[in-house]
Each structure stands twice: as structure tokens, then as C-alpha cells.
Subunit: 300 residues, 2 copies
């Protein structure tokens, strides 16, 4: 089986490292330089103080033809548009696509792709890209996957061939799966990014915890969650389990990168607006993060 992976950030490199143990992987990179380096050095995976090297094919993204049996798209949501345009312009549509973006705003874009099995995934691993070919797997977890459109048979095959140490877990309902991750991201990411604290501080500092609960209450009301207490407990558990970690949004702000705030809080604001609901907390956090992005840009 051949697997293409579009996007060689931390998640793309992580999937390439594990999947290349069992299938034929080609990584498609944004820059030709990164493809050259991956071919030269292999993908270096660091985990628990050990280091393994996987040799994979690598090509710049413009060479992607969609000929692999499965294509995993692991770019950020805000980088997705040109890729979907490219998919829709291919002479032969790819058979199976697995999208791994945070947020839910991109689902509308996925609907534009015809006659293809489209799967979506929620990656729960912690991973840090150390350089263009090295990724550190510092949070071992699972990837939840679900059918967005089409036939699930191939997805079941993927689940069964996936490496035991890097499992895919099937979920019936893609919407609930993605929403559940969205809620976690919507609460933990912006607060840690504004306060510039590790995840654990949000529950260890009683005042921050109050803000977390207030924000969660607004988010869950906008999204009309039914299992609110369970989801709040999940957020608390994640803060506990990743206590010393800096969230991806905090890391983006610190590294002067664009954040995923549009995919996360931007989506929730759209839902609120659509429903005619107020969203004072989400709106303010959204603008605070956008403002921080701007300030960071001044230094970039």
C-alpha cells in the first residue's frame, strides 16, 4: 500500500515516521529544501530518549498527483484551501483522503470534493518538530478517525494495518469527535496563550480555573453540548496529564507564528452568530489572540 502525506510539520513527520514502518510513504513538503533534507537524513523520530530513523520518499507538494491509495493531509486548517483546490483540479481524483486539521470550519470545504472517500481524524498525540526532518513524540496517545463522506471499508483496513504503537481508533460520529477536540482546544489553547502559562496552571491556579469554567460554559452553550460535565472533566484531565506542556497556540505565539485561532475560536464565533447567541468571552479571547499575533508579527 502507498500512503502520501501532505504537510511535514510535527504531525506530518510523526505519521510519516510510524507509517513508513509498514507501508510505502511519500511525504509532500511545502519547500523543495525540506524534501531534500528528508531524503538525505530520513525522518528522525525521538521518543523516550531513543531515536529511530525512517527512510521515506519526499517530494515538494507541487509534485503530488494523488496516486497513493491513501493521502493524509496534515497541514494547518489555514493552509488547506490551495490543497483542496489542487485536489479538485487533479485529472483523476485520489481514492481516499484523511484530513487531520483542528477545528471544524474546514468541513464546508471538504464537501466540495466529489466522488472520494473522505475521512477525518483527531490527533491526540503530543509532538514537537525539532527541525525539518526531526520530530519528538513527547505525548503518546491515539488518533481518532471517522468517515466524513463515502465508504468506510478502506478506513477499517487502515485501522487494522496501522502500527500497534501508533493506533487509529474508529469513531462512529465525525461531528462529535471533532467537536470534542474543538472544545478542548477552545478552552486550553487561548487561555494558556494569553496567560503564557503551561496547561497545568489553568487548573492549579484557582482563579484561572474559574475563568476556564466560565469560558467552557459559554462554549458549551454555544455548541449546545449535551454531555457538558463529562467534557469539562475531560478538559481537566487533559490539563492534568499535560501539566508541564505548553499548548500549540502558546508555542505559535512564542515562535511568532500564525495560530489556529480562526479554526478554533473563529469557528465558535461563527456558530454563535449563526444562532444569534452572544459570545462575549469567546469574542474577547479571539481578539486578544489576534492582537498577540499582530504584535508578534512586528518582531517576525
Amino acid at each position: 500500500m502507498r500512503v502520501g502525506i501532505i504537510g511535514a510539520g510535527s504531525i506530518g513527520l510523526l505519521f510519516a515516521a510510524y507509517f513508513s514502518r509498514i507501508v510505502d510513504v511519500t511525504v509532500y513538503t511545502r519547500t523543495p529544501e525540506q524534501a531534500t533534507e528528508i531524503i538525505k537524513y530520513g525522518i528522525v523520530l525521538k521518543k523516550n530518549g531513543e531515536q529511530t530513523i525512517s527512510n521515506t520518499k519526499a517530494l515538494p507538494i507541487n509534485e503530488w498527483k494523488g496516486i497513493e491509495d491513501l493521502t493524509i493531509i496534515s497541514v494547518k486548517q489555514y493552509q488547506l484551501r490551495p490543497i483542496i483546490e489542487k485536489i479538485n483540479q487533479l485529472p483523476i481524483l485520489p481514492n481516499n483522503l484523511l484530513f487531520l486539521q483542528n477545528g471544524m470550519g474546514h468541513l464546508k470545504q471538504l464537501e466540495t470534493i466529489p466522488n472520494t472517500n473522505i475521512f477525518v481524524g483527531a490527533v491526540e498525540h503530543g509532538a514537537l518538530k525539532e527541525n525539518s526532518y526531526t520530530v519528538s513524540h513527547n505525548g503518546e496517545a491515539v488518533t481518532k478517525v471517522a468517515v466524513f463522506k463515502g465508504n468506510p471499508t478502506f478506513l477499517f483496513d487502515c485501522i487494522s494495518f496501522a502500527p500497534l504503537e501508533f493506533p487509529l481508533v474508529f469513531k462512529e460520529d465525525y461531528f462529535t469527535m471533532l467537536q470534542s477536540k474543538l472544545v478542548v482546544n477552545a478552552v486550553i489553547n487561548p487561555l494558556t496563550a494569553i496567560l503564557e502559562v503551561e496547561n497545568g496552571k489553568l487548573i492549579k491556579n484557582e482563579y484561572y480555573f474559574q475563568v476556564l469554567k466560565n469560558l467552557y460554559s459559554e462554549v458549551s452553550s454555544i455548541l449546545n453540548l449535551d454531555n457538558t460535565e463529562e467534557q469539562l472533566q475531560q478538559i481537566i484531565t487533559i490539563c492534568n496529564n499535560t501539566s508541564a506542556n505548553r499548548s500549540s497556540m502558546l508555542k505559535d505565539i512564542e515562535a511568532h507564528r500564525m495560530t489556529e485561532v480562526d479554526a478554533i475560536l473563529g469557528y465558535i464565533l461563527e456558530v454563535a452568530e449563526h444562532k444569534g447567541m452572544k459570545s462575549p468571552q469567546v469574542a474577547n479571547l479571539y481578539y486578544l489572540i489576534k492582537g498577540k499575533e499582530m504584535i508578534k508579527e512586528e518582531y517576525a
Copy 2:
């Protein structure tokens, strides 16, 4: 005329420096050490690159007997309670008291003081305490004063004898006067403290400006302000005029000191609760600042 000044922080030192040019001033300090230093070195006032020294009397606060013609109370609101208890225990009540605290929560406490002229003031100067006897006057402005209770005659006298370079400006309505300063403090202080930016950033960064307007809207609705557009313009003007300044709350957070958040946002939360109004933005900012105070305490 004799003037007593209780509290030798930046504002107390500033008033002592200017008032000692025209009247007999005694500064009452929290620690005996500070009184000793003020006696030894005088009060050093820095302004526009020049430096003047005023020799004043100084005593620790427990030696205050309330015998001066006017007592200016320039401690923080959260330091006020023991002073008011002391006033109420004096054998002879002082004649005239001028309270210079931010916020409005302390007005209830002032009502407990009988048979004395009570004035309140809103200090608009910018001042930075450099050490226990040195203050830098880096924002030249005025002090607005109004009658809280009693006879205004003495206040008019004070206004006429106040130094020309350090004017007192009479306001008819103490409530509007203090509320107007409260609104400015409620918007500029917490946002600059959370974002750790200078005042000007709140209007120069379009996203922060959006948060400022959202927050102002909530505050003005809770306080039922009538001249909302004018007050917003005032906030913008202050951000402009003090563009490079760090707000007192930001400086408190940076110096690991307690902030005035209870006097400012805490008061607004009480008003909201009393009126049965929602205050999601004010509440979250309140908890974020309280949380930052806690974190700073860990390093203190």
C-alpha cells in the same frame, strides 16, 4: 496651615513634595524606617530632568493624632480599613479629611466617619516612586476634588492655596468624578496588565482596541453611564497621551505587588450582582488578574 499625609507611596510623596512648598507638611509612613529616611534625605522630586528636595516632617503612622487642619489619605484602597478604624477611635476627630483612593468600594467605609468634613479626590498625575523618599512626576495633570460629606468651605480654601504647578480642581459631584476615573481604570488597567503592554498598544493594535470597546460597553452598561461616547473618547485620549506608559496595575503585577483589582473590577462586579446583570468580560478579567497576582506571589 498644617497638612498631614498618610501613606508615602508615589502619590503621598508627590503631594508632600508640592504641598510642603506652601504649608507645614507631616508625612505618616507605614514603616519607621521610611520616616527616618524622609527626615534624613528630604523628599526628592524629579521632574523634566530636574530634581528638587523638600524638607518635611515624617513620622510612623501610629503617631498620627489627626491634629492637622487637613489630612490627606493616600494609601491604596485595600490598606484603608485600619486607617478608618483609627480615625473612628481618635479622642478628637480630625477636621478635614481628603481621600485619594481609586475605585468606589471604599465610599461605604467613609460613611462610618461622623462629624468631619470628608472630601474625595481623583488624582490624574502620573508618578513613579523610585525609592522610599524619591518620586518622579512623569505625568503632569490635575487632582480633581469634591465634597463627599460636610461643609465645602475648607475645600475651597485648599483649592485657592494649592500650588499653581499642582492644582486642585473642584467638581460638584463626587460620584460622577470617581466613577469617571473608575471607568478609565477598569478598562486600561486590567487589559494592559494581562497583555503586558503599554497603554498606547490598546488603541494602536486594532484587535486589542476591539476588546477595549467590548469591555467598555459591558462596564458602561453595568454602571448605567449616560455619556458613553464621551467617556470612550476620554479613554482613547488617555491611551494616546500616556502611550508609552505602563499602567499602575501592570507595574504592580511586574513588581509582584497586590493590585487594585478589587477596588476597580471587584466594585463593578458588585454593582452588576446587585443589579442582577451579567458581567462575563469583567468577571473573567477580574479572575485573570487575581490569578496573575497568585502566580506573582509564588516568586515574591
